[in-house]
């Protein structure tokens, strides 16, 4: 029996390689469901799921919603603002209220690192982290892994370079942990002011030049450059960023190999990625989106149900 996932999915750092493999393998058959005429299976019928989004997000929320609906779960969206000094309801009160409504699962997106874990420790429902601050975004990491595995037929030994604002990126963290656990070789490339000071302790190769990263990598995962980083003084201008770190057709053409292009979206075309790269033949950006639904269905399925006391009762009820 493969190791189960436990109650929650909070990050990839705390998962084993076997657990990540289980999720990816489970996602495979779920891809087919989205291709059916009736894109719905009754698996989570009767389960109640709350999508608790403290940060605006269209892509991730919609992807989770589709995953939930295709599994026949009943889901409710809650959008809340979370200015750190907001005098509204605290997260702990929100947690208690959700618990009192007897929900089965919570998908949480929050601006504070650790918010998903905070919630998970306080409620019995399953908690899925849909992005917490600059900590982790595990389902994005998983869909990136799935997309890479689809293309390379393996993860072990492939070279993936994560490009851009690693310092503030939860996608970068989930990718680094997930890729390393699956045996991939991880590089990062970006201005040093947007890399964590302790990046060298994370077991990755650091590239100062995007040209060197492209030369080295089998795949590039290009992070979105948050435009507020410029106001924060981390980089002088978007123009210079594109000139120095932008992934352009010209730079890709210099290497005589195919380099797979991933981007978690939404893209700033002409900043971190040029349009002809995003829309080019080696871009798997839309595959990522498709895989996102399958991966999230797999996670929902693996975390759902399975109350141990019911399993005992089922055993006594005879075999099928």
């Amino acid at each position: 029996m493969t190791a189960p996932l436990g109650k929650d999915l909070l990050g990839l750092e705390s998962l084993s390689g076997d657990q990540i493999r289980l999720i990816l393998d489970t996602a495979e058959p779920f891809k087919e469901i989205s291709e059916r005429a009736i894109k719905k299976v009754p698996t989570l019928r009767g389960a109640t799921i709350v999508n608790l989004f403290f940060e605006a997000s269209t892509r991730t929320r919609v992807s989770f919603e589709f995953a939930e609906k295709r599994l026949s779960a009943d889901s409710v969206n809650i959008a809340a603002s979370n200015s750190s000094v907001s005098k509204g309801e605290t997260l702990v009160d929100t947690a208690r209220n959700l618990e009192a409504m007897r929900i089965d699962m919570v998908v949480i997106r929050h601006g504070a690192s650790g918010a998903a874990q905070f919630l998970a420790e306080r409620i019995e429902s399953n908690v899925i982290n849909a992005g917490d601050g600059t900590h982790e975004h595990p389902t994005q990491g998983l869909l990136d892994l799935l997309t890479l595995r689809d293309h390379f037929k393996r993860l072990d030994g492939i070279k993936v370079c994560i490009c851009g604002d690693v310092l503030h990126s939860r996608v970068a963290r989930s990718n680094i942990w997930g890729l390393k656990k699956m045996g991939a070789i991880v590089g990062v490339c970006g201005p040093r002011s947007l890399l964590p000071n302790a990046i060298d302790d994370m077991g990755v190769t650091v590239f100062n030049r995007i040209e060197e990263a492209i030369e080295w990598a089998d795949a590039l995962n290009i992070l979105r450059l948050q435009l507020e980083r410029m106001q924060g003084g981390y980089i002088p201008s978007l123009r210079e960023y594109n000139r120095v770190f932008g992934v352009t057709r010209e730079r890709l053409d210099r290497v005589k190999r195919d380099v797979l292009i991933l981007h978690p979206g939404p893209m700033n075309r002409g900043v971190e990625i040029d349009s002809d790269v995003a829309d080019g033949p080696f871009s798997v950006i839309l595959d990522q989106v498709t895989n996102g639904v399958a991966v999230r269905m797999a996670v929902l399925y693996l975390l759902s149900g399975g109350k141990p006391e019911l399993a005992e009762a089922a055993k006594k009820g005879g075999e099928r």
Binding site: M1, T2, P4, D25, T26, E28, P29, F30, E32, I33, R36, A37, I38, K40, V41, P42, T43, G46, L71, Y301, L302, S304, G305, G306, K307, P308, L310, A311, A313, A314, G318, E319, R320
Partner: protein, 183 residues
Amino acid sequence: MPTRTSTLLDARAMARTIRRMADEIVELNEGTDDLVIVGIQRRGVPLAQRLVAAIGEREKGHVHQGALDITLYRDDLQTVGPRPVVGSTDLPVDIDGKVVVVVDDVLYTGRTVRAALDELADFGRPRRIALAVLIDRGGRELPIHADVVGKTVTVESGQRVDVMVEELDGKDAVILARKGEEE
């Protein structure tokens, strides 16, 4: 006391049985037109494959073959422990208006077949759905019967039927074993 294990069908008997089942399926369909043979994961899939091969040997023309994983349609998902592994579902043709023969190794409670019927309904509306099983061991909990049966066996309480196929188990055989005993 029943004997510890006994062989109900050996490899040769199993091959014979499958050939007979193939004939019955063709008869039931009055030919191979519009026929789709769909195996239920996991042992129904290799059995379906053999049925398709056997039909192909006798009749000219191509018979479509598919695979169905019913895990996500199980009625006990909220009660079982760790999530069961989900296999692949693959229906190569549109099943609207077709005759779909669902193939499984053992027919027992009927719950697996119920799930398969529900799942097929999400893919389309076949003209007819039939059920072919290698072994019918009785013990139905739902009003379901098989149209084509390889062998009907009576199973005492404390016994179970194991179907083994070359592709998954290394040999072909159907065995009657005591419950809780490894084959």
